[in-house]
């Protein structure tokens, strides 16, 4: 749920500014590797999260430049990033660690968890919740947030007002990339204990679904991430219950998160409104 | 507008108008945000006349025309086109009943920029038997010869029929579009800002074409933000303000200043609206 929430919240802010990043899946994949690599270099899991954030920011910035100055088709550029990651990550795994498909890093590099009366909580999870609230405040209570929303709705007005449309959009896409990067690094360092080549298994796209579900509201996105996290966990819990698996083949249980996504998005979509210029580059007339 | 060049006036004959080809009663249309943009408008356009709607842009003209062209749903009211009552108008209904539509934004509605000239020449006419068979095959020979004909008849300057419309000048794009619409043999022509952004030659040419249509006995509904244009070629004029007709009358009866004031929402004479639904007897 944590990576979903981080990526979805970042993408909410990004899409508010009118930029769509379909490449979250690719960012997850690449930053999971860079995160582990940094963690190993510094011998510290938290540094790994930073390494993920940095790589994510670079990727987000690059996509931002392509979208803003290159006037790229953002969906195609994002898909390109996903395809790139699909090939680049296995290449990276074998180039960095000389082992195909998987790399297990030393256990002490795992980001430690806090033990609370309710169970163990990763600081990153707490951070993700915090980020959602901060993003909400940013968008709705600050001047910068107002500008970000304005850039998505009326870039021409923002432009006339003497603000830089390009800078604002670069800012949000870099920020979105960085958050997704923390999520990507969290996958191995806070959760899996290893990097595998298909590490994100569609989570980047589920994060996008959370964004749609949330109608670009960070707090709702957080809720959506929890819901999908729950659907995922629920699927696994159902799968092991004796008596259930004999009747419902596990294949159908495995579909639960994806079917949930489809159904939920189909149900709420009519009530969601998206910024006027979403996905479209801004060109001064 | 500043620095406007003088456009030569279009000459026209005067002829009594015929039967109404378009009757609109109490039409209400909402805008994209769901607010009422056209607040109960009634009027007629008769064969052989140009009915001009003047007004500052954004007073509901776009919504009105889109409703008449079947591009926007009608909230309430009635439309009768060429004798047929239509509740849920679609673009195809409009064409089927003899309507032609020169849309306000040619780049948005009227043309597909990356399609070539020939393909654009049948846009909205693609279903006509002349251009596609019953099985749905496009008849390229017919399309090309028709496009060639359009190019010649309406003086469209283009390197070839396979040139993407994107690379034509604005004037030539509009000539192609207007030519395509007028060659539909319509009974009603809806023309919105037909000469906006065009060079003088094209402007004059297109106004002449509209007048020619009128003279051939077709009804023309002209919507334009260019007051000169409305005054120059219309027979009757209505001024639209905040979704309603604030005033109307025959072109001879209205002064330029009067219309200018009405466009600003001021009705000097407090004209009643009965003139709008003019029946032949009220002349």
């Amino acid at each position: 749920m944590t990576p979903l929430a981080l990526a979805a919240v970042g993408e909410c802010v990004n899409e508010k500014a009118g930029v769509v990043n379909i490449g979250l899946e690719g960012i997850f994949m690449i930053t999971s590797v860079t995160g582990v690599w940094t963690a190993e270099v510094f011998g510290n899991g938290a540094m790994g999260l930073l390494g993920g954030a940095l790589a994510g920011a670079v990727l987000g910035f690059a996509l931002g430049v392509i979208s803003v100055y290159g006037r790229a088709d953002q969906i195609i550029a994002g898909m390109g990033l996903n395809i790139f990651a699909l090939g680049f990550v296995p290449f990276l795994l074998i180039s960095l660690w000389a082992f195909p498909g998987i790399h297990i890093f030393p256990n002490e590099l795992m980001v430690p968890r806090w033990i609370t009366p309710f169970g163990q909580v990763s600081p990153v999870t707490v951070f993700a919740v915090l980020v959602a609230f901060l993003a909400h405040l940013l968008l709705h209570r600050t001047v910068l947030g107002f500008r970000i929303r304005a850039v998505g709705e009326r870039p021409e007005a923002v432009d006339v007002a003497g603000l830089r449309v390009d800078h604002l959009r670069l800012l949000t896409s870099t920020l979105g990339g960085a958050l997704a990067g923390i999520g990507g690094a969290f996958l191995p360092l806070g959760w899996f204990g290893a990097v595998v080549k298909e590490i994100s298994a569609g989570r980047g796209f589920i994060a996008l679904a959370c964004v749609v579900f949330a109608g670009l509201e960070p707090l709702l996105a957080l809720g959506a991430a929890m819901l999908f996290g729950f659907a995922d966990g629920f699927a696994s819990a159902v799968a092991v219950t004796p008596g259930v698996k004999e009747r419902i083949p596990f294949y159908f249980v495995s579909m639960i998160p994806y079917v949930t996504t489809l159904v939920v998005v189909a149900l709420v979509i009519g009530q969601r409104r998206f910024p006027r210029t979403i996905g479209r580059p801004y060109a001064r007339e | 507008m500043v620095g406007r060049e003088i456009v030569p006036r279009v000459s026209r004959s005067s002829r009594p108008p015929g039967d109404p080809v378009l009757i609109v009663r109490n039409l209400q249309v909402a805008n994209d945000q769901g607010a009422l943009a056209v607040k109960g408008i009634s009027f007629e356009v008769r064969a052989g006349e140009i009915f001009g709607i003047a007004g500052v842009e954004g007073n509901g003209q776009s919504e009105l025309v889109q409703a008449l062209a079947g591009l926007r749903p009608i909230r309430s009211g009635e439309i009768s086109l060429n004798g047929a009552e239509i509740k849920h108008l679609t673009p195809l209904d409009l064409y089927r009943l003899g309507g032609a539509h020169i849309p306000e934004d040619r780049l948005r509605f009227g043309l597909a920029l990356n399609f070539d000239l020939a393909e654009n020449s049948i846009l909205s006419r693609q279903r006509e038997p002349a251009f596609s068979t019953r099985m749905g095959r496009l008849n390229w020979n017919a399309i090309l010869s028709y496009a060639r004909q359009l190019v010649e008849r309406f003086n469209v300057l283009a390197p070839g029929l396979h040139t993407p419309v994107r690379s034509l000048s604005g004037g030539n794009q509009q000539r192609l579009l207007v030519g395509r619409e007028l060659s539909k043999e319509p009974v009603l022509v809806i023309a919105v800002h037909p000469t906006r952004g065009l060079d003088i030659a094209s402007t004059v040419y297109i106004r002449e074409l509209l007048v020619q249509m009128r003279d051939e006995g077709k009804g023309v509904l002209l919507v334009s933000a260019d007051l000169d244009e409305v005054l120059e070629i219309s027979d009757r004029i209505a001024v639209m303000y905040e979704g309603q007709f604030i005033g109307s009358g025959k072109v001879e009866e209205l002064s330029r200043e009067e219309i200018g004031l009405m466009m600003g929402g001021i009705t000097p004479k407090g004209r009643d609206e009965s003139a709008l639904a003019s029946s032949p007897t009220s002349d």
């Binding site: 190993e40 296995p90 660690w97 000389a98 195909p100 498909g101 998987i102 297990i104 890093f105 030393p106 256990n107 002490e108 968890r113 033990i115 169970g119 163990q120 959760w191 899996f192 204990g193 290893a194 595998v196 080549k197 298909e198 590490i199 298994a201 995922d232 966990g233 699927a235 696994s236 819990a237 799968a239 092991v240 219950t241 004796p242 008596g243 698996k245 004999e246 083949p249 596990f250 294949y251 249980v253 495995s254 | -």
Partner: protein, 360 residues
């Protein structure tokens, strides 16, 4: 040795062809049952090269399609008796459950492809054998085998580690004493679940345990991996290379009809050639040595802790379990080796249905 990793399984023919065309190559090894068709085809086209498939059944394809050529002289399938190894760890887990008074044992599987049925039924069969053994030898601990005794689930993935974590977590929540990993990297997810419990309860050693598969995975989390069901692919490759070097390859193909079975007590030409076992401390040492070599080669840290520490922890864990458990597992292994018991080998749908009815 050059290794070619196929990304699309349909690439196999061209992949093998690429290797076979290299004049310096004498032996081409393909790993994975999906290579069977490709091996059968390419081996015929390059009669001068030797081909080995791990987990394949290329010769049976030859037998079916080109009976005149069977067995192809330059092709050897190497197959493993994973069901037997799975039976051993199934028994081990069950005995642990009896010792610690736990209600369940677990198994986390990958995508439900029939190959995994071997593991599944082997594991459950071993569990049942252990319950029967206890009635005879350890009546105070004995309990009757129930069809819900083994918690098992197919996760539909061999790579999505959290699925392994979630499945294992649910099993440990039901107080399963040990969970068998039959899903490759998903073992790391199982490990996460174990670690979480260990941390919450401040444990230095299981229970809960998990059981490794294929390679020796005891070192991943010393003290919590009770053992691994080892399938020594490296040994298969080693034997094959040795046969080629000694010039015995084609003779052996003729003798074995092209299929070399590596398992428990399996022999070739009178020599013991085994490939399946439950990990021991000696195996651990061997793997630690491999890890150290890898660390030297790559300059990167591979082992989670200093070798001596890993070894000490694993040793302590093993010694903390009562001797009779290890003895019972050894007894089962001996019986399997002697052939006095037979572990069912399940590969077809009717079989799996029948056995699931019986074992749960």
């Amino acid at each position: 040795m050059v290794e070619l990793i196929s990304k699309v399984e349909a690439d196999y023919v061209p992949n093998l062809t690429t290797a076979a065309r290299d004049p310096d190559v004498q032996l081409i090894v393909g790993v994975g049952f999906l290579l069977s068709d490709a091996l059968a085809q390419v081996a015929q086209r390059f009669p001068n090269k030797n081909f080995v498939g791990i987990d394949t059944f290329a010769q049976s394809i030859i037998k079916e399609k080109f009976p005149a050529k069977y067995p192809l002289p330059n092709l050897m399938d190497i197959v493993y008796e994973e069901h037997k190894g799975s039976a051993l760890v199934g028994a081990l887990a069950t005995l642990l459950a009896a010792h610690y008074n736990k209600p369940y044992i677990g198994g986390v599987f990958g995508i439900e492809i029939p190959v995994l049925w071997k593991f599944e039924i082997g594991y459950k069969w071993g569990a049942r054998w252990a319950t029967e053994w206890m009635f005879k030898n350890k009546p105070d601990k004995a309990f009757k085998y129930r069809t819900d005794f083994v918690l098992w689930t197919y996760t539909g993935t061999f790579s999505d580690i959290p699925k392994g974590y979630a499945a294992a977590k649910a099993m440990y929540a039901k107080d399963a004493v040990a969970v068998y990993n039959i899903a490759g990297p998903l073992g790391l997810g199982i490990n996460q679940a174990v670690q979480e419990i260990a941390k919450a309860r401040g444990l230095k050693m299981g229970p809960p345990f998990w059981i490794g598969v294929d390679a020796n995975q005891d070192w991943i989390n010393p003290g919590f991996v009770i053992a691994s069901m080892m399938k020594r692919v490296d040994k298969g490759v080693y034997y094959a290379t040795k046969f080629v070097k000694d010039g015995k390859f084609r003779d052996l193909v003729k003798q074995t009809k092209g299929t070399l079975v590596l398992g428990i007590g399996t022999k070739v030409a009178g020599e013991l050639t085994e490939g399946i076992s439950v990990s021991t401390l000696a195996d651990l040492d061997e793997f630690i040595k491999m890890g150290q070599t890898a660390e030297k080669l790559t300059g990167k840290k591979v082992l989670p802790a200093p070798p001596a520490e890993i070894r000490a922890k694993v040793k302590a864990m093993r010694e903390a379990q009562p001797q009779w458990i290890w003895a019972a597992v050894a007894e089962l292994e001996k019986k399997i080796r002697e052939g006095t018991v037979t572990v069912p080998l399940v590969l077809t749908k009717p079989d799996i249905e029948k056995w699931r009815k019986e074992l749960g």
